[in-house]
Amino acid sequence: MSAWEKLAALPREIVLTIVLIAMIVPAIRPFGLPIMVGKMSKDWYNTVDSLPEGSIVLFDIGFGSGGYPTLGPCAVAALHQMFEKHLKIVIMATALEGSMMYPLIMEKVKPEKNYGAEYGKDYVFLGYIAGEQTAMAAVLGDIHTAVKEDYYGTPIEQIPLLQEITGPESFALVAYLTTSGGIAEGWVYQAYSRYKLPVVGGFLSMMTPSLKPYYDAGALKGILDGIKGAADMEYMTRHPGDAMRATDILSATQTIVLIFIVIGNISYWGSRLSKREGEK
């Protein structure tokens, strides 16, 4: 095996151990690097910021355990901004595990303690509703015929916030966070296309390229782009959390990946050129 080929033949255990160390070290000793806020996150923030106090927002938790490390911080930061603005929030879950994410998120937001919000008046959680786009269409179309009770089993007639909703026009904004392309497209189809409601969406970074056309066309007013979007939101709302901490870990791990890419290419071209030299 030539020196060039040896360079590309590091055992996977070594590669993985290096990656693990690159994650652990900055978690213990953060670098504290500055955040540069992207335009898509700024547009989400400004869209919510422009809503008058008391506006009703429909907020969808469209992710489960798989998306929680990335979209959990997005949800916390986004809800901090909404509660700070004294918006009223109808929270629902279109993902099967979404209702299990709700208590984890609210434990960090603490709306009653931090903002004096009252459940039932300022926010309500409807729980998981099956059907994805069918659920979206049902809730937006006529929430009173679709939903009979909230997540805790309280009849909706006893929930003041839901009595304020008379139709889709009652919602000033639809905000969703999801790991599913179907849910992400679904809200654009059901809220924007059907009822012309403003929509902001947050999803995993790897979904952003395929959903960005909606943002470019004006169907989405803002995007939270995975952990980067979450860090931007934490920075803009001045509620530092797990996402800002994660940026240091990302710095280390992605630098390691870049180094591996460079090593891989050096070894590939090195062996290719030395083989050509050998043939001459």
Partner: protein, 207 residues
Amino acid sequence: MVSTDVGVWIAAFFTIVATSYAFRDNIFFRFAEYTFIGAAAGHAIVMGVKNIILYGWTHIAGGEPSYWIPIILGILIYTRYHPKYYWIYRYPIAFLVGIGVGISIRGAIHADFIKQIAATAKPLIATTPLGTLNNIIVFVGTVTALTHFIFTYEGIHKGAAGWIPKIGRWMMLAAFGGAFGNTIMTRFSMYQGRIIFLLRDWLGIIH
């Protein structure tokens, strides 16, 4: 300080064991995998039952007997396991497919087609030279990428106009490279959450 919560220790065990697959397949990972599959299926049943009661039975109890129809349709889904009457499950599936397709077509025509074409059909000349260049690149990218997928007319990929879909291919490859870069960030950002859990919530090394 190391956590004394049993739930945190169980979560830490499953995190470490599920990670071990990256190094080597092993029986502990299989144990974690089977645990997850069973738990996920159980969770689906719990949420299904809750939705049936909240969105079906509550309506019936409230004086809307028409909701027996979706309940019967739902039960008929399970006839697919019957060797002779399996075809009955086509009824609820036809209902679900009809609703799903009808609901999504209307949005797709508007958001995926009309709005995208409207966004493309804008003036190319912007207020700054960089803006104009950007608009041209977006326009060229859209048109050439679309052209790449025209297979009904063979001549478009060969001959004089063959360079158009070729540019589309390069634009898409460049776009996929950007998407790959984002995918790297996504996966690492997901795992960092587990690292923070292990170091903070389990071992108490960080706060």
